[in-house]
């Protein structure tokens, strides 16, 4: 959910872009991290761990902890907390380590 009003900050409206999450059509703000767009859409499970397949979400949001790795446009292990959202991106939940082509 996005913040409707804030006593100190204002969030300038960015261009809205379409992307897909596991095939489902969603929209977000161009240039915001993919994880922010997913959170705004209520999606917080980003991948499943490699050994016990446990759900993982956002933890550090500065590209440091590797909790948020997803497959984006077929490329695994993208840190969606820092990767900017662009129109037409294909974002998918990552299972385990992901496979490189």
């Amino acid at each position: 959910m996005r913040i409707a009003s804030h006593p100190i900050l204002n969030f300038p409206q960015q261009e809205t872009v379409e992307f897909t999450y596991n095939g489902e059509a969603l929209s977000g703000m161009s240039g915001e991290p993919i994880a922010a767009a997913l959170h705004a859409a209520g999606i917080r499970t980003l991948r499943h761990s490699s050994r016990y397949h446990r759900p993982r979400g956002l933890f550090c949001a500065i590209g440091n902890c590797s909790s948020c790795l997803m497959t984006v446009d077929g490329v695994p292990n993208v840190r969606v907390c820092v990767e900017p959202l662009r129109a037409g991106m294909k974002v998918e939940t990552q299972e385990g380590k992901g496979t490189l082509v």
Partner: protein, 362 residues
């Protein structure tokens, strides 16, 4: 291979100040930042800073970040590399950087490491469920991108970050169930702690997390009381139905490059973990590597900015750059640091710094 007088790694409060002061001394500076924006964690700080005017007291972190950026963006001696991750530093003085998916090598004469710190976590069952965040992540989501991290949050940690971020959650329209703190008393400044309590948010000292609940995402948290030996007291469980858990349990310095360079390191709990030995000018045991900010020991952003100023001045001076203002600015920086660390809140930091101090310099 690119050459430069000084490479500054990290463009948070320490790195921005280091770059500004070194460049004003006349040094050619390459400022290397791994994210797409400058300012580090300052950009998500919406509270007003303490300290004195020199450290921008009374201004909000994101406003300070903007001022520092203005100061360096038009400075001809500074080259800024964003989206640039420093990968390594080698015995022959070569630094490797990945910038925009390309590999670069460079040879700086001096380096100022201002890499900052990363969020710590806590060990408890289910601590990896989606909905459990570091405090910094919550700030980034809501204060930079305008997105709510959850509907109802339990905050862990009543140090400054815990009480400040709890208040920011309320400002963003998120309900805060409570703040729990393992220590017997509140660690954050009273002005922040009182403000959040006036809003009706209880601060439960002597409490810890027993476990988180949920299958696909966080659904609730069980907390319990601790006795004076920090052991869980049976029969004191309380359950909070929350979809967010925010951990404000401290930061740990990001020291990988210092280890690789062979700087002498020491574990100092008061400073957040392993930190480098350094002299009063923030020069490490490696003759070309200075440090500034949280990587040298976790403190407030105000101290990070002054350390950046000091390291920037000292590094440029070591390369024989000189200005008329130098002596005054150098002593001013040292006095500012002493003043910032004079209060009782800084006693812990000071006792930590004593353990890694090599002595006076210039």
């Amino acid at each position: 291979m690119r050459e430069t007088d000084i490479a500054v790694v990290g463009a948070g409060p320490a790195g921005l100040m280091a770059a500004a002061y070194a460049a004003e001394m006349g040094a050619q500076v390459l400022l290397i930042e791994r994210s797409q924006a400058l300012g580090g964690q300052l950009v998500k700080q919406t509270h007003k800073f303490f300290g004195s005017r020199q450290e921008y007291a009374g201004e909000r972190g994101f406003e300070i970040a903007r001022k520092l950026m203005d100061r360096i963006e038009n400075q001809p001696n500074i080259t800024i590399w964003k989206n640039a991750t420093t990968l390594g530093y080698y015995p022959d003085g070569v630094m490797t950087v990945k910038k925009d998916e390309k590999f670069h090598t460079l040879k700086p004469r001096k380096i100022i490491m201002a890499t900052g710190a990363s969020e710590k976590t806590l060990a408890f069952p289910n601590n990896d469920l989606p909905g459990i965040y570091g405090a910094g992540a919550v700030q980034t989501l809501m204060n930079v991108y305008g997105v709510m991290p959850a509907k109802r949050v339990l905050m862990v940690g009543a140090g400054n970050i815990g009480v400040i971020v709890a208040y920011q959650l309320l400002q963003a329209g998120v309900e805060v169930a409570a703040i729990i703190e393992a220590a017997p008393k509140i660690g954050g400044y009273w002005v922040h702690a009182s403000k959040i309590q006036r809003c009706g948010v209880p601060i439960l000292t002597g409490h810890t997390i027993k476990q988180a609940h949920g299958t696909d995402r966080l659904e609730g948290v069980t907390v319990c009381r601790l006795d004076e030996k920090w052991a869980m007291i049976p029969g004191t469980d309380a359950y909070f139905e929350v979809d967010g858990l925010c951990l404000a349990v401290g930061l740990s310095p990001l020291t990988e490059l210092l280890w690789q360079a062979g700087c002498k390191m020491e574990f100092v709990a008061e400073l957040g973990g392993y930190v480098p030995w350094r002299n009063a000018d923030l020069l490490t045991t490696h003759n070309n590597i200075y440090v500034a900010g949280d990587v040298a020991g976790v403190e407030e952003a105000s101290a990070a900015m002054v350390e950046g100023k000091l390291a920037g001045l000292a590094a440029a001076f070591s390369l024989n750059y000189q200005t008329e203002k130098f002596a005054a600015e150098y002593h001013e920086a040292k006095n500012q640091l002493n003043a910032l660390r004079a209060g009782p809140v800084s006693a812990k930091v000071c006792s930590g710094l004593c353990k890694v101090m090599l002595g006076e310099a210039i």
